[in-house]
């Protein structure tokens, strides 16, 4: 059910649903802020095993940034009437999303290989938990992409205001989890 929102009296130029999503993103950010401060406080207390981030974390950064680009390109194609490009790029984005999850798991394996398991030392524990919580949010994004993909292939191609909005919402969320990953990796790298 949609609430008809007339432009004349909305306070912002942002559509209410987009605004709502941004508010939700702020909320999610707070959880990671909490993790970050817990990390910093614990690190300061000593008994902290230093180690370098697994290389796959950096590879994954490229993967997720690329997926943001492909999704954005898909969105532009959608608006411009290029149905095939729109659908194709959407597929690629979804595949990259899956790839991210798989590679994250393998990055964890890299950590285990150098002796950093979940319970070895808090420094490792935090990395597992934080990257895991992020991966859970990526999973949510993948679910949204899946739905977008199903719509792309099942519905007749048509650029309506409703569909554009849904795409924009998916796009905002995906960019958000992308940005979140970059923050997390920067944080880990700078802190160690």
């Amino acid at each position: 059910m949609e609430i008809a929102v007339a432009k004349e009296y909305t306070r912002n130029r942002i559509h209410p649903k987009k605004f709502a999503l941004l508010v939700a993103c702020a909320s999610i950010l707070m959880m990671f802020a909490a993790f970050s401060s817990a990390y910093i406080v614990r690190q300061a207390a000593g008994n902290w095993l230093e180690f370098s981030m697994p290389s796959l974390f950096y590879v994954n950064t490229l993967v997720i940034v690329l997926s943001s680009i492909t999704l954005h390109a898909s969105y532009i194609s959608f608006k411009r009437g290029n149905a095939n490009l729109y659908k194709g790029l959407l597929v690629i984005t979804l595949l990259l999303g899956f790839a991210f999850l798989v590679l994250q798991y393998q990055a964890w394996q890299q950590m285990v290989a150098i002796g950093i398991e979940l319970t070895t030392n808090p420094s490792g524990s935090f990395v597992y938990v934080i990257s895991g919580a992020h991966a859970a949010h990526i999973l949510g994004g993948v679910a949204a992409l899946l739905i977008a993909l199903i719509h792309a292939f099942m519905l007749k191609y048509e650029v309506t205001a409703g569909r554009k909005l849904r795409f924009e919402l998916t796009l905002i969320y995906w960019h958000f989890v992308d940005f979140l990953w970059i923050y997390i990796l920067l944080f880990f790298t700078l802190q160690s």
């Binding site: 929102v5 912002n12 209410p16 709502a20 909320s27 707070m30 959880m31 909490a34 614990r42 979940l118």
Partner: protein, 619 residues
Amino acid sequence: MANIATQSQPEVLREDMLIEELGFDDHFHDHHHGDKYQSNFINTYVFSQDHKVIAKQFLITGMFWAVVGALMSLVFRLQLGFPEESIAWLKPVLGKWVEINAEGFGTLSQDFYYALVTMHGTILVFFVLTAGLSGTFSNLLIPLQLGARDMASPFLNMLSYWFFFLAGAIMFASLFISTGPFSGGWVAYPPLSALPQASQGSGAGMTLWTLSLVFFVVSVLLGGINYITTVLNLRTKGMSLWRMPLTIWAFFITAIIGLLSFPVLVSAFLLLMFDRGMGTSFFLSDIYIGGQALDHVGGSPILFQHLFWFLGHPEVYIIILPAMGLVSEVLSVHSRKPIFGYKAMVYSIMAIAFLSFIVWAHHMFMSGVNPFISNFFVIFTLIIAVPSAVKVFNWIATLYKGNIRLNAASLFAIGFVSMFISGGLTGIFLGNSALDIQLHDTYFVVAHFHIVMGVAAFFGMFAGIYNWFPKMYGRFMNDTLGKIHFWGTLVGAYAIFWPMHYLGMAGVPRRYFSFDSFQAFAHFDGMNQFITIGAILTFAFQVIFIVNFFYSIWKGKKMTTRNPWGATTLEWTTPIERIHGNWPDKLPTVQRWAYDYGKDGKEFISQVEPLGPDEKEVH
């Protein structure tokens, strides 16, 4: 002479004309004529996406949990007030949690005592005073008072209620499992909460408790997102921020606080779950228990406390601010006077909200935190007393030279202020760390938070229910019964919680199953009996309220005019029989602030009334 204002027919017609001529036409009903939105029972009453129905769902669920939480407190008060009396008679209800000895004497199992205390706190703080209070009134009033058709996302709103329901169902289930419900205090400090060996309730009960609360947080966040978006995006034409009623300011700022603080609780719980089940050491170190030295090394229980209280403290403001908003509105309407110092009240809410984020460690003065850090928390904690005091003075000034209609709603609002004064002042003792050395974890703390939360916030809720019941159901609750409810509860609540200050000042610790082990704490049998009897009697008065509430839904006196209180705010311009979309045709356009009571000799001036030729707007 003020009474239940029978808004006269001409006034009603004038309002309708103003809305027709000056209102905003969003063609809402063109889009929603015969839509699937409310086509069957399930859509209309169960998975409703109408904010008014959702508000009632929150209210009734909240009331259910209030009864459960209160009954729990009666059981553990029986233990504290009458430890020599057998409670074997409760065995049919409590089963194995009542231990019967050879002579047939029944005592409450100690584990279960602590489970009751834990559940009482959890249920009342989260399910009743957060969901039941904010959930009900934010949902009911935000669209109605802002001139919106519904919330920004009715679908998310519906989900918000059902996540709350789910959280409740899980918590309810946890009461019946064999190892018992969680019993480590509503604050769930590790290592106690992390180790099933430390307490029965820290087994499966704790897992369910945490799961329930995670779903609860989802519910709060979904609701909060909606409230914020609706306030910022869906106000009707002319409704600038400074024309919003104080209720909306309160709900809006509360939602922001919730959005920023609840996720931190989730992070604390996630880390705790890892410590519990995956062997990590975020919060655990150097533990020998159950005949074993555990592997966890390097963690700090104090870290959990920081993360918990980062939510925990703003949480109590999430509880009290909406109650304050409701009280401001009720006092103003029934005094036929503007709320005194509207802008000061708004700024106070903002100041309280901001400060609430930097005082959390006043719950941790005696936790082993570096004493130097506590200095800052003392400073900010005592500063937060200032905007709180300002609000009290403004409420009192609202009554001054008013023309007060003393009905159930306004009496509860007055009672709120009395309770907030009493409970707020003891906060000043506790916020001063030097005094907290003595008072921490004693009954003085229990007195303080019960009076501000357990009573004041409840009074705000009652004031809101009595005042807006007509808007919810088109009928009135019986006011005489409401007044009886008020006086019984006011006297009863003070009877229960005031003596607890004395227990605290005598050094009696909280969360004690029995005081028999200590000479120092054993002098207070009479007082404990008095408190328990007070609790039973006060609960009896709540039965009056519950009966009144449900009876009035179907048999209460019907509303004959749509604005019985003679209020200025927009919700009273909607028809008596609630409709989807709130207004039958156009949306009202707002021309002035919400508090023109008694201006220019008029009892009240609706917000839709344009300013007169020489009239100046107050703000």
